[in-house]
Amino acid sequence: MPRLHRAVRQVLGLILVLAISSFVIFALIEAAPGDAATIMLGMNAAPDTLAALRAELGLDQPFMTRYLGWLTGVLQGNLGNSYIYQTPVADLIGERLKVTVPLAVLATAMSLVIALPLGVWAANRPGGAVDNLASLYSQIGIAVPNFWVGLLLILGVALGLGLFSSGGFPGWGAGFWPAINALILPAVALAIPQSAVLTRVTRSSVIEVVNEDFVRTARAKGLSRARALWRHAVPNALLPIITMLGLQIPFLISGAVLVENVFTLPGLGTLAYQSLSQRDLIVVQNVILLFALIVLVANTVVDALYAVIDPRLKGRL
C-alpha cells in the first residue's frame, strides 16, 4: 500500500510542522517585551492592579503551563479566549474568515481572469504588441507593492471617481452587494501583483508547450492556430500555472495583512496585525497557526492535483 503509506506520512509531517511552528510562534512572541495586561490598563496602572489583571487573564502562569494548556485546548477544538476582547478566539477567527476568504477567492478569480487570456495571447505571438503589453504589465505588477496599489485605488477610483467603497466593511448582514462592493478594490489591489506573476508563468509555459510535437500534429491535422492553442497547448501548460497558484497562497495571506489594513477591512490580516501590537498572544498564535495550516494544506493539494492533471506523474510521486 505505497499510496496510503505516503498519505499517512504526509499527514504526520504536517502535524509535526504545525507543532514546531506553534512552539516557535509562542516562544518568539513571549520573548517580545510587553503583555496584554500592560496594554489594557494603560500607562498609569499601579503594580498591584497589573498583578490582579495578569492573574485574571492567567498571564502569571509559567511559560510551559500556558503553552501546553493552549496546545491541549487546540487538540480538543478549543482555541481559548482572547485576552483583549475576552471572547473565544474561534469566534473571532470565524468572523474574520467571512471577510478574508471571499477576498482571497475574489482576488484569485480576478488574477486568473486577467492572467490566463493575457498570458496565452502573449504566447501566441511572442514579440508582438500583446506580448509587449503583457510583459510591461507583469513587470509593473511585480514591482509595485499591493498596499500602494490599494492607496492609489482609494484615491483614484473610490474618492476620485466615486466608484466602489473606499474602505471599511458593512458586514454580510448589510446585503450581498454592499459587502462585495467593499471587497472589490482590495481584491484588485491583491490581484494585480498576483496576476502579473501568473501572466508571466502562463506565457512561458504555453510557449514551451506550443513547440511540442503534439501541437504541431494538431495543426497538421487542420486545426486553426487558436484552436490548437486552447484545445491542446493550454491544458498541457496548466501544471506550472497551478504550482504557481499554490506557491502564491502565502503571498496572498501576507498581502492581505497589508491590504486589509489599508482598506480597514476587519479580516484575518487585520486581526493578526492588531493582536500582535496589543500582545494578544493567544490570538496571534492561533491566527499564525491557521496561516501555517493553510499554506501546508495548499501545498499538499497542489501535489495531489499534479496526479489528476498529468496521469504520467501518478507513479512517480
Binding site: A32, G34, G42, M43, A52, E95, A158, L161, G162, S165
Partner: protein
Amino acid sequence: MPFALRHLAKSVSVAALCAAAPFAALAAGEVTFIQPVEPTGLDPTQDSPVAAGQVTWQNVFEGLVTIDRNAEIQPQLAESWEISEDGLTYTFHLRDGVTYHNGAAFDANVAKFSFDKLLGPDSTNGQKALYAAVTSVDVVDDSTLTMTLSAPNSDLLYWLGFPAAVIVEPTSAATNATAPVGTGPFKVDEWRMGDRVIMSAFDGYWGGRPALDTVTARFIADPQAQVAALRSGQANVIAELGAPELFAQFTSDANFTAHAGAGEMEVVAGMNNARPPFDDARVRQALMMSIDRSALVEVVTSGLGTPIGAHFSPASPFYEDLTGVYTYDPEGAKALLAEAGYGDGFTFTFTVPNRTYAQRSAEIMQAFFQQVGVTANIEIADFPSAWVTQVMTGRDFDMTIIGHAEPLDINIYARHPYYFNYEDANFDATIAAISAATTPEARAEGYQAAQEIIASTVPALFLYSNPKLGVWSAGLEGVWENGPVPSNDMTDVRWAE
C-alpha cells in the same frame, strides 16, 4: 499611472462630481465617528481608559458627576453634593428614576457596589490610584451616598467625573467589557471587533431621548483612510485627525466643518533625571534652550500646535504661559553646558516610540542638539509594548518623548517611582498642598506654583500641546470642539434642520 489613463480618470471624475452628489450620505438621525484606536474592551472602569472612554463614556456609561465641554464639573447621576468643612466627607444626593439599559434601577446601593469594585483589592481599574484617598463609601438611604476620605483631596470631584469612575451595576458588571450596560443615552447593539461599535438611542434615558437614533464608532488608525471614509460619506466625524498636514484641505471646504481645538495632550521629552548627565539641572536647562519650539511646532504639527513651557496645555483652566523661562538660545545653551562640565558636548540614546509625531519631533531635536555639540542616537521602540516595558516601567533610558493625554496630570512629577526619576522636595510639597487645598483659589495657586517649578528645573523638555483637529460634515451640530477630557460625547449631537 500612464499619462493617458490619468487624463481619462480626471475627466471621468469631473463628470462624476458634476452628477448630483456622488457619495451617498448617511441617513438623518445617524452619525458615524472615527477614532484611531479600538478599545481593548468597552468597560472604561477596566480597559484602556482613554479608548474605551472615547466610545462608551457619556454615550453609554455615566458617573456621579461629569466634566463638560468647558472642562467644568457638572452634576450627573448625583444631582447635588456637599463637602464637609474638613474636606473629609462627601455627601451625594442621587437622581431618582434612573434605569440601566437592562432595566435595573440605579440607587445608592448600586453606586456603592461600583465604588467598592473600583477600590477593592481585586480591582483591575488602571486609574485606581486617583481615588486612593477614599477609605469608605456608605449608603445613607436609597438616594444618599457618602464618601469618607483619609485626607482632603481637592481633585477628587474632578476624577469622579472621569471615565474610570462611571457607575456600573452589579448584575452586568462582569460582562461590561463586551456587553456594556449603562445609564447613558445610547445602548450598545453590536461590537464588530476590529471594525466598529454600533449604538442606538435608549428610550428610557432619564435625560430624555437623544436626537440621534444611531451612533457608530469606527476604528481607523491610518489618517489617510480616515479622510477617505469621511470624504466618501461613510463617516461624519473625525474627532481627532492624526495627520496635521491633511487638515488644511478641509478648512476651505464648505462640505465640512474643520476646527483646530485645544487638546489635552502635552508632548514632552522626558529625561532620566537619575542618570548623568541629566541629573544636572543645568544640562536639562541647556537642552531646553537649544530647541526652537516654534520651528518644531511648524514642522511637526503644520503650525497648529502650541509651544508650552510646562506640563499644562492651554485647554486647562490652570494654564500659564511659561515658554519664556527658557527661550531658544543656542549660545546660552553652550555656555551652560560648559559650566556643567560638558563643554565638548556628550552623546546619549534617544528612545523614541514609533509614533509619527514622536519620530518627527525627535529628528528635529537631534538637529538642534547637534548645534550645541550634543549627539542624540535615535532608537525606535515599538509602542506601547516595548516602550512601556523599557521606559515607563523599566525606567531604562536617557531621553524619550511621548504625548501625555491625561488632563491634570502634573502630579506625575511627584510620583515616586515614575519614569522621569525626578526628585524635588519643593515640588512634592506643592502637589501635597494642592490636594489639601480647601478653596478653589488655593488650588489654582498651587497648580501655578507647580508649573513654575518644573518650568525652571526642567525634568522634561516641554515641547508643545497637541491641537485637537476635528473635522465633521457640515450641518452636524453639537460636536465637541475642544478636548478637555478624552471623549466623543454624542448626547447633544444633531443634524441641523
